[in-house]
C-alpha cells in the first residue's frame, strides 16, 4: 500500500515541559530540588539496597532483630553458588524468550488494534472496546482454571507457548495505545487522507512515528510485567527446564528450608536486566516529538 504523496512530519529534537523549554532554575532552587530528589531517591531505593546487602549475607543473617543494614561478613560466595545451586542460566533464558516474544506481540498487535479503535469509526466500536477494557476488570485468579482447562485441551499447558498466548493479547496495550492516539490531532490524518494515503499508510507513516514515547512505555511495562509475572508461570509451567526466574527463585522457599540469602541474590540478578532496559529506553523519553507546525 504505497502512498503517493507523503507528508512526513519533520522530527525535531525538542523538549517540552510545563515550564516551557530551557527555563533556567535559579541556583538555590536548583540545589533545593536536587536535595529533595536525592533524599527521595535514597528512600525509594532503600529496599533495593537491603536486597543487595542481604544477597551478601549468610542465610541466617538475613532476618534479624534489629535489621542489619550491613553484613558482618560479605558472602560473595552467594553469587557463585546461585549459578551452581540453581539453574539460573535456564531461568534467565526462558524469561528472556517469554518477555521478548510477549512484548513484541503485545506492542505490535496492541498498537495496530488501538488505531482501529481510535481513528476508524464503525458501528459497535465503543461496545467492543468496553468489552476489552472490561476483561481487565476481571480478577485473573477467578478465570484461571477455565482458561487452564482450555489451554490443556489444546495441549499448550507446560509449554512456553502457554505464557505467550496468555499475555500477548491482553487489553492493556490496546487501551494504552488508543489513549495516546486520541491525543494526536485529527487534522493530521485528515490531511493525509485528502492526500490519498490509505489508513494503513497513515498508521505507519504518521501515527507510529508520533507515538514513540507511548510505544516505549508500553514496551517497558509489558516487558517488566512478563519478566516479573509469577502466578502465570506457576499455574502453567511444571517442568523445571521451562521455569522462569520468578518461579525458580520462589522454589527456593521450599517448605523446610528458606534459602533467603540466595533468593535475594537471584532477585538482584533478576532486576538488573530490566533496569538496563529501562535505562536504555530512557532516550525515547527525552526526544519530545514535535507535531509539524500545528498551532494548538
Amino acid at each position: 500500500m504505497a502512498a503517493t504523496i507523503v507528508t512526513s512530519p519533520p522530527a525535531q529534537l525538542h523538549l517540552s515541559s510545563p515550564t516551557g523549554p530551557r527555563t533556567r532554575l535559579r541556583g538555590w532552587r536548583k540545589i533545593l530540588l536536587y536535595v529533595v530528589l536525592i533524599v527521595a531517591a535514597a528512600g525509594v531505593l532503600l529496599p533495593f539496597y537491603w536486597m543487595v546487602m542481604s544477597s551478601l549475607k549468610t542465610n541466617n543473617d538475613v532476618f534479624t532483630i534489629p535489621i542489619k543494614w550491613v553484613p558482618d561478613v560479605f558472602v560473595w560466595q552467594n553469587y557463585v553458588d546461585i549459578w551452581t545451586k540453581a539453574d539460573m542460566a535456564t531461568w534467565l533464558k526462558n524469561t528472556m524468550v517469554l518477555s521478548v516474544a510477549v512484548t513484541a506481540l503485545q506492542v505490535f498487535t496492541g498498537s495496530f488494534a488501538a488505531y482501529g479503535f481510535s481513528k476508524v469509526r464503525f458501528p459497535g466500536r465503543d461496545v467492543l472496546f468496553l468489552t476489552y477494557v472490561g476483561t481487565i476488570a476481571v480478577p485473573w485468579q477467578s478465570y484461571m482454571i477455565p482458561q487452564f482447562i482450555l489451554m490443556s485441551k489444546v495441549h499448550l499447558s507446560n509449554t512456553l507457548w502457554s505464557i505467550i498466548a496468555l499475555q500477548a493479547f491482553g487489553a492493556f496495550g490496546v487501551f494504552l495505545m488508543k489513549q495516546f492516539y486520541e491525543s494526536v490531532p485529527e487534522e493530521l490524518s485528515e490531511a493525509a487522507r485528502i492526500d490519498g494515503l490509505s489508513e494503513y499508510g497513515i498508521y505507519r507513516r504518521i501515527i507510529l512515528p508520533l507515538s514513540v514515547p507511548a510505544l516505549a512505555s508500553l514496551t517497558l511495562l509489558t516487558f517488566t510485567n512478563t519478566w516479573n509475572d509469577y502466578l502465570g508461570p506457576l499455574i502453567y509451567l511444571r517442568s523445571p527446564e521451562l521455569w522462569t526466574i520468578q518461579l525458580g527463585l520462589r522454589s527456593f522457599i521450599s517448605q523446610y528450608n528458606a534459602e533467603y540469602a540466595l533468593i535475594m541474590t537471584g532477585s538482584v540478578l533478576s532486576v538488573l536486566p530490566i533496569a538496563l532496559i529501562f535505562i536504555l529506553g530512557q532516550k525515547y523519553f527525552v526526544e519530545g516529538i514535535a507535531t509539524s507546525g500545528l498551532k494548538g
Binding site: 530528589l37 493479547f169 485528515e190 532486576v271
Partner: protein, 301 residues
C-alpha cells in the same frame, strides 16, 4: 473523541468500508484475545450461577450464590476494605505520580537516574518489597517507629501488626510501588504535548500555573483517563501486595475482595461462589469505568 468524520454522514458503502478497515486493524489482536480471554471470562459468568468444586460438573443453582453473598459478613468486610484501599490509593498515586512526572520532565543533570530510581520499586521483586517494608514497619525495632519515638511520638502505631494501622501501611506501600509506573505513563503523555503550545502561551503572557491549568491538564486528558481507569481497576483488584505483606491480617483487617476470591476458590474449592464474587467485583469496576468513559466523552464533546 475528536473526529471530523462525524460531520459527514457516512453512506452505507463508506460505513461498510470503515467497518472492514477498523476490523482489519483489530483482528490480529482480537483473535488471540477472544479465544484466550473472552471464552474463559464468558464461562466465568456461567459458573457464577453454579455450585462447582472444580472437579466434575457444575450444578446450576440460580442466584443462590448471590443471596449467600448478601448475608456473608466476610464478603462485606472484604468489600469495605477494598473500598478503603481504593479511596486512599487512587488520589494519592495520581497526585504523586503526576508531580514526579512534571518534576522529571525537565532538563536536569542526572534526570535519567532519578526516573530509573522512581521506577525501581515497580521492578523490584514483590517478595523483597514485602520483606523490607515489614521490617521498616516492625513495631518495636523498625526504623519508622524508632524515628517516631525520636521525634516524641510516645506510642507509635503497630502498623502491619495492628488491626487499625495495617491498611494504612499497605496503602503507603502500594502507592510507593506504583508511583513510578504511572509516572512513566504521565511522562509519555507530557512528551507528546507540542512545545509550540507552551511557546504560544508564553508569548501571550501566561504564567506557569496558567500554562499548567490550560495546557498541561487538558492535553493530558487521554493519558489521565487511561491512568484513572487502570488505577481504579488495579485498586479494586489489589491482590499480590496484600498477600505477601499481611495475608489479609491481622484478623480480617486487610482482607480484600481479590484475596477472598482466591481463598474461596483455591483454599476452600468453592469455585462457583468465588466466580460470583468475581462477577460482583467486575460489575463494580465496569460501572465505574463506563461512568469515567462517558464523562470523558462529554468533556471531549
Amino acid at each position: 473523541m475528536a473526529t471530523t468524520l462525524a460531520t459527514r454522514r457516512p453512506g452505507g458503502r463508506l460505513r461498510l468500508r470503515n467497518t472492514l478497515t477498523g476490523w482489519s486493524f483489530i483482528l490480529p489482536n482480537f483473535v488471540g484475545f477472544a479465544l484466550l480471554t473472552l471464552v474463559p471470562v464468558v464461562a466465568l459468568f456461567y459458573l457464577a450461577f453454579t455450585s462447582w468444586n472444580v472437579f466434575g460438573a457444575a450444578k446450576w443453582i440460580g442466584t443462590a450464590n448471590f443471596t449467600r453473598m448478601v448475608g456473608d459478613a466476610s464478603f462485606w468486610t472484604a468489600f469495605r476494605n477494598t473500598v478503603y484501599y481504593t479511596v486512599f490509593h487512587i488520589p494519592l498515586t495520581l497526585v504523586i505520580s503526576l508531580g514526579l512526572a512534571i518534576l522529571l520532565n525537565q532538563k536536569l543533570r542526572g534526570v535519567a537516574f532519578f526516573r530509573t530510581a522512581a521506577f525501581f520499586p515497580y521492578i523490584t521483586s514483590i517478595v523483597a518489597i514485602a520483606v523490607v517494608w515489614n521490617m521498616l514497619f516492625s513495631p518495636q525495632y523498625g526504623p519508622i517507629n524508632q524515628f517516631l519515638h525520636a521525634i516524641g511520638v510516645s506510642n507509635p502505631p503497630g502498623w502491619t501488626t495492628s488491626g487499625t494501622w495495617a491498611m494504612p501501611a499497605v496503602i503507603i506501600v502500594g502507592t510507593w510501588r506504583e508511583m513510578g509506573y504511572y509516572m512513566l505513563l504521565f511522562l509519555a503523555g507530557l512528551q507528546s504535548i507540542p512545545g509550540e503550545l507552551y511557546e504560544a502561551a508564553r508569548v501571550d503572557g501566561a504564567n506557569a500555573w496558567q500554562r499548567f491549568r490550560n495546557i498541561t491538564i487538558p492535553s493530558l486528558r487521554p493519558t489521565t483517563f487511561f491512568i484513572t481507569v487502570m488505577l481504579t481497576i488495579g485498586s479494586f483488584k489489589v491482590f499480590d501486595l496484600i498477600l505477601v505483606m499481611t495475608n489479609g491480617g491481622p484478623g480480617q483487617s486487610t482482607l480484600v475482595l481479590s484475596q477472598y476470591i482466591y481463598q474461596k476458590g483455591f483454599v476452600e474449592n468453592q469455585f462457583g461462589y468465588a466466580s460470583s464474587i468475581s462477577i460482583v467485583l467486575f460489575a463494580i469496576c465496569i460501572a465505574i469505568t463506563i461512568f469515567q468513559f462517558l464523562m470523558n466523552k462529554r468533556r471531549d464533546a
